[in-house]
Symmetry: C2
Subunit: 146 residues, 2 copies
DNA sequence: CGCTGGTATTTAGCATTGCTAATGAGTTAC
DNA sequence: GTAACTCATTAGCAATGCTAAATACCAGCG
């Protein structure tokens, strides 16, 4: 396999990419639609939006959080009316957690807010730069999921 | 000014960019060289690396943290031998905080580790994809600093 | 069936890290 | 020279993560 990324130029690109992604990620994280939800709670709702529904244990693994922490997060989300808890069909030890319509609306609003913030920021780029980013977006997405 | 980013394609690109950056940022954040340092402590050291030295108040503003929190962070960093405290030349209320050589080494190691992690991830891309990212890196960096 | 071991969740208690309010020292403007 | 302001700190609180232990349940084997 050709060792694509170990020349000097590419090392610089990796470093530049790293710092840009970290900084932009931090700034995006601060754009929150609901101050009463912690980042982890938001993240759990996002996961539920992707997966439909899951047990607390599954959620804990996906969010890299310990099961007891997830228990509390789910309890808080339920108290806020953002998730529903139902008995697991096959195993009475487990529960099924799923999001409510209210959560759905909040997630959409949140995505929209962050997209708008980023789009607004991108107004500061010229046309060529924006073309470059548009081409890079799917690649970056692939990279993030590798 | 031409409204570059409000067509459908660009909206999709913004959304894709947003989610990729957030996910990649989260994953990068987990690549820590020293588990005993919190992300904020690392960030303070990074700021000191960029700025040379600063007062606790300046650091608090830059890190978007309240002054009392910065007092504790600086105290912890000092206890770990990563920063030095000196009296302010002009104002005896203030102190000057600067990093030690040990902090410098740690920062370099941390950058290297995250770069290596990202470079390793990028091995999963093909040549064209990597070219695209290399072109996008400086643009992304500009965007992050806008 | 009944026991033994394993898994899912929860409870209890603790550590970390942020905050606000109040204090003390030092500076600045009138 | 004093009143008002600023900087750093102390004290105490809230949020959010963790580990260890408890509870409830499932699965397999005699």
């Amino acid at each position: 396999m050709p060792d694509l990324i170990h020349d000097g130029d590419s090392a610089a690109a990796v470093s530049s990419l790293r710092s840009a992604v970290m900084l932009l990620g931090r700034r995006l994280k601060h754009q929150r639609v609901d101050e009463s939800l912690s980042p982890t709670e938001m993240s759990v709702l996002g996961t539920l939006a992707r997966c439909g529904s899951a047990t607390p244990g599954e959620l804990a693994r996906k969010e890299h959080v310990q099961p007891p922490s997830m228990t509390r997060i789910v309890a808080l989300l339920e108290a806020k009316g953002l998730v529903r808890l139902e008995p697991h069909p096959d195993d009475r030890r487990q529960k099924m957690v799923s999001r409510t319509e209210q959560a759905e609306a909040m997630l959409a609003e949140s995505r929209d807010k962050r997209n708008a913030w980023l789009a607004n920021l991108a107004e500061g780029l010229d046309e060529d730069e924006w073309d470059t980013l548009r081409a890079a977006a799917p690649v970056l997405e692939k990279l993030a999921h590798l």
